[in-house]
Symmetry: C2
Subunit: 630 residues, 2 copies
């Protein structure tokens, strides 16, 4: 199966276009100003300044984190998608400015990195663990492919191929690999875009070397002459870098969550390209480890702030977790490749879960505020008073010193059209039900919402239309066959319209009982969308809220502009105890109305309490104990 690229598809869906336009009109220009240090009151980025200095335009030392170059690359990647969506002469000029600057900062031998060029020109590739040179190179290459596809202009492609060739000459015959994966999936993209076989070979070399023989991360870590960038990293183990085992032997998702996702995505690419069963098997195990034992219901990953990493199975604290927006972007990258690799559309529900919940929550309604960390519960007094939650912000922040997440959200949303359709021989998959138009090799497809249902207009040769049924939804269509989570129409060729309905079910969702923090609790979902309680709607002390497990739900248009209704239910509140912190009276309850909003919407009404997993009060006793008659 192959996902059809963003260049073949145009989104027309009002909700998603509003998000996309927010990114195009607000986020991208704002980020450009940030990168240029022109936003008053915001922390200086110094990103563009570093490039100017590396290009010799100005004299200045490097400022900011060592991987800051990637901010410009991710911005350029997003800007390229934006230009493919619609012309924007101002943005086009900025993108060209970026391209010129990147080209000018490249060294004669193809090397490209402003930090090492400015600060440690003789130390290139001596700190692969922390230096992020290959990480930045990867984002440069991803930006290049996007820019080349969107604009048809080839200037940056030359820079990227020169960089890739330089990397090939440096690393192809060494057993080295980056501390932060990214170059692997980027080289694979460059190979797919250009057909340059050496890019595929180098990507594969990085993957094959990882975790084999002498551990490169450990070697650097134990080197007394190692020049540390982050002293904290001394405490990290090989699993943090996913170098604890050869990739084919890794069975559980370990270490830094973003690193893991970028690595696993590249593994899936490589497994598919080479039809490599061993690697495919490892990918399946790792995907199951994430989605079956280490993922939050919101598609967040990374249970620990220290190391922004995976911890152990079922360890999913709702308050101290990391759940970085970028990690969920990475999970989307991994999940879409798993769908392409296995042809199993159910894996795409992980992509959808991450996008609909954590990734969208990362972006504030104004396009200028972002969450890096995505908690599942917030009590402002507790969050401010307890340092275990120091990293959790209770409201979205305007721009962070480490600015990975905002440009990652931007490139994800602006390339969304490349995540809707897929093809496999005579099958056309509709993976996401987003109103859109596809034109590809004589096949025209238009997906629209009409009077409560969906219509798929198809023009072209015979094809099986395989529509993924999203998680928690009921889909029906006249003349369609339902099978394995798909609704299948057989298009005999010519022109036809296929109608179907897609009804997201509002329901309580429970976690496996090994998730200690969620036992006795449930969350509310509507289709793939997780809902939450906010203080703004329900008053404080959300911890005291209980929902009967036979509650009825009422959808209500609401005023939240999130493409989703608010949901009302009759709940209960456990009464505060009179004076005594502990007592033997079982809790007493007072009925209360509850209003749930989509998780992705939370935190848009100022600082307040938020809760995803609430207490459930079992009312339907008969269904709870196996041994009792029904």
């Amino acid at each position: 199966m192959k996902l059809l690229p963003f260049t073949d598809v145009k989104i027309t869906d009002a909700y998603w276009m509003e998000k996309i336009e927010l990114v195009r009109r607000v986020v991208l220009p704002y980020q450009w100003e940030i990168l240029n240090d022109r936003v008053q009151g915001a922390q200086k980025s110094c990103c563009i300044r570093n490039f100017r200095a590396a290009a010799g335009e100005i004299r200045a030392p490097h400022s900011g984190v060592v991987f800051l170059d990637s901010d410009l690359y991710k911005w350029l990647e997003a800007a390229s998608y934006s230009l493919a969506i619609g012309a924007d002469s101002r943005l086009e000029a900025w993108a060209e400015e970026a391209v010129e600057l990147i080209a000018a900062a490249q060294q004669p031998d193809g090397y490209l990195n402003t930090y090492y060029t400015l600060m440690k020109p003789d130390k290139r590739y001596t700190n692969l663990m922390e230096g992020h040179e290959l990480y930045c190179a990867g984002h440069m290459i991803e930006a290049t492919v996007a820019y080349s596809q969107a604009s048809g202009k080839n200037k940056l492609l030359g820079v990227a191929l020169k960089l890739a060739r330089h990397l090939y000459d440096t690393f192809m015959h060494q057993s080295k690999y980056p501390g932060h994966p990214e170059i692997e999936l980027a080289l694979f993209k460059l190979y797919e875009h250009t057909g340059e076989r050496f890019c595929l070979d180098l990507s594969k070399q990085f993957l094959d070397a990882r975790g084999q023989g002498e551990n490169q991360m450990e070697k650097e870590r134990l080197d007394p002459g190692h020049e540390w960038i982050w002293e904290d990293m001394k405490r990290f183990d090989n699993a943090y870098f996913q170098t604890h085992l050869p990739l084919r032997e890794q069975e559980s998702a370990e270490g830094h969550a973003v690193r893991a996702m970028y690595l696993y995505a590249a593994m899936a690419d490589a497994a598919k390209a080479a039809d490599d069963e061993g690697l495919k098997d490892a990918c399946k195990k790792l995907f199951l480890s994430v989605s079956g034992r280490r993922m939050y219901v919101t598609g967040g990953i990374g249970s620990s702030s220290f190391g922004e990493r995976f911890t152990s199975d079922w360890d999913l604290p709702n308050d101290t977790m990391y759940c970085e927006t970028c990690a969920s972007v990475g999970l989307m990258l991994f999940a879409r490749r798993m769908t392409a690799l296995t042809g199993d559309v159910s894996t795409y529900s992980v992509w959808e879960r991450a996008l609909h919940n954590t990734v969208l929550a990362g972006l504030g309604g104004d396009g200028k505020h972002f969450f890096y960390v995505n908690p599942l519960q917030v009590i402002p007094a507790v969050n401010h008073g307890n340092m275990a939650m120091e990293h959790v912000k209770t409201v979205r922040q305007s721009w962070f010193g480490v600015a990975c997440c905002p440009p990652n959200i931007a490139r994800t949303l602006l390339s969304l059209s490349g995540s809707i359709y897929a093809q496999n021989g005579g099958d056309l998959y509709v993976l996401a039900h987003i109103e859109s138009e596809l034109e590809k090799d004589g096949l025209c497809v238009r997906l629209t919402r009409e009077s409560g249902g969906y219509c798929l207009y198809v023009l072209g040769e015979a094809v099986n239309l395989r529509l993924r049924i999203p998680e928690g939804c009921i889909m029906t269509g006249e003349g369609a066959v339902e099978r394995d989570g798909e609704l299948i129409f057989r298009h005999p060729g010519g022109q036809a319209v296929y109608s179907y309905t897609l009804i997201p079910r509002v329901r309580l969702v429970y976690a496996d009982p090994r998730v200690l923090y969620n036992n006795g609790k449930a969350c509310l979902m509507r289709g793939p969308d997780v809902y939450c309680l906010e203080e703004a709607d329900n008053g404080p002390d959300l911890s005291a809220v209980y929902l009967p497990d036979n509650a009825a739900f009422l959808e209500d248009e609401g005023d939240i502009r999130e493409g989703l209704p608010v949901i009302r239910a009759q709940g209960l509140r456990a009464d505060a105890r009179d004076g005594a912190l502990y007592g033997e009276d079982a809790p007493r309850f007072t009925p209360c109305g509850l209003r749930f909003v989509p998780y992705r919407y939370w935190g848009n009404r100022g600082e307040n309490e938020m809760l995803v997993w609430f207490n459930v009060k079992h009312c339907a006793q008969a269904r709870e104990i196996k041994e009792e008659p029904k």
Copy 2:
């Protein structure tokens, strides 16, 4: 009300004497060897070595933490109580050796601190925030009073009074105070023991200065010339040191939990001595803040590892908390003084809760292993995998670099006889039902357990016998009146025996619903004793355990030698979900037998899961909703 001192009372209770003898026969000799660096395999203490160096016996720099002197003082205090319990010539010789050493280390002007004497003789009292000179002086004075009371020997008393006089001369007319309270309650003890009024005055001066005018902690912290001992402390605020407000204006328990308890205890002493209503009022508010909103059910305090401190109301995480053993020792000190101050015996249940649960849990069954941090839930894989729990040990440790808790447990248990009886005019209180003998001013009391009940043998003048009813217990006695949590016998004078029964009720206990982490859960208590589930008895995945809220409990002698039975009940286990981490089927349950052990016993059978708060399955529906008929 005045608690009768340890010198007047002899414990005969088998359970407590076994603990006490464990401390006398194992802990004290072991600690002495540790202090002398003679335990193979254990980290070197260097405590005695520092004293030898300060005394000029050897030439060596100071080693170990800056407050290490207090280890010897706490050991000597405990050893003194031990000598009062029974003769022990070896221990007596060690104690005399310690006394000689302490006297020899005192400087001609009365100053006494090995760290500053050896390392920074010209920097005395320049770092009150971190230097712990006054803290160590306090423990020296506490040791002195105990040694003097137990042995009748006065050599150390001279050293202590000389030290106290030196402190008076230095601090009485300055607005300074220590970063770590302790000197205040110690000076009060010295005043009570000697009648030296200047000790009371200086104690009061330290209390009155605290949080008034220019903040001394802040001044030191902001001083660019400040020589930091712990860089981490730069991040602490004035509340960490309880200097954010004048003491009379403090209403919530803030900052480092041990500091807070030692301070509040001194406040209660001062309030009682001066009959100071304002200070008494502050003590009451602080006591309510701790016991009513910020205390674990185990009597643990300190919700955050960072700063080992209080956080905010209802913030009581069961996994990342600190709950230091020393803080619960401090809570006992505060609670007993609150009982003496207010005459309200219900406050003594906090003393009992801390002792029976957290403090006793700190001491392993072998007398050589200790908990500093006392978690309410442990899943070994989670604890090892998630750095938010790095400070939580899953098994007791043999001895720590910072050795505050083991000697604190020792001195607490060995002085227990001083916490049983209290007097107030014609009232004799029995605060704790521990078999014992009291002889005081012609009054002889013997408390024994006989055939399932208690007998109080009394010989002496007329007195009201006021027996505190412990939390969660039913007490009845023929001829007794029950009133305000007391069972009162009127002893008309002469000789008599009063019989009563004390039945600890086994029951589920619930937390206030504002405690987010405990909602939908309960813990099991028997009288004042908290119980827990351990993997050793119940298998892994304790998070899946549910108990019906109408469960019946069976007490069972068991083999745990903790003076308490094990408790059995029929519970349920939520079934693991097949494959899916999240699902919409309500949990299904399988019946299972459960075995609860006392919390203080946990961790004596190797590393395993432990859980205090388990899920409750509501079975008695009618009592749960107010609006429904009973």
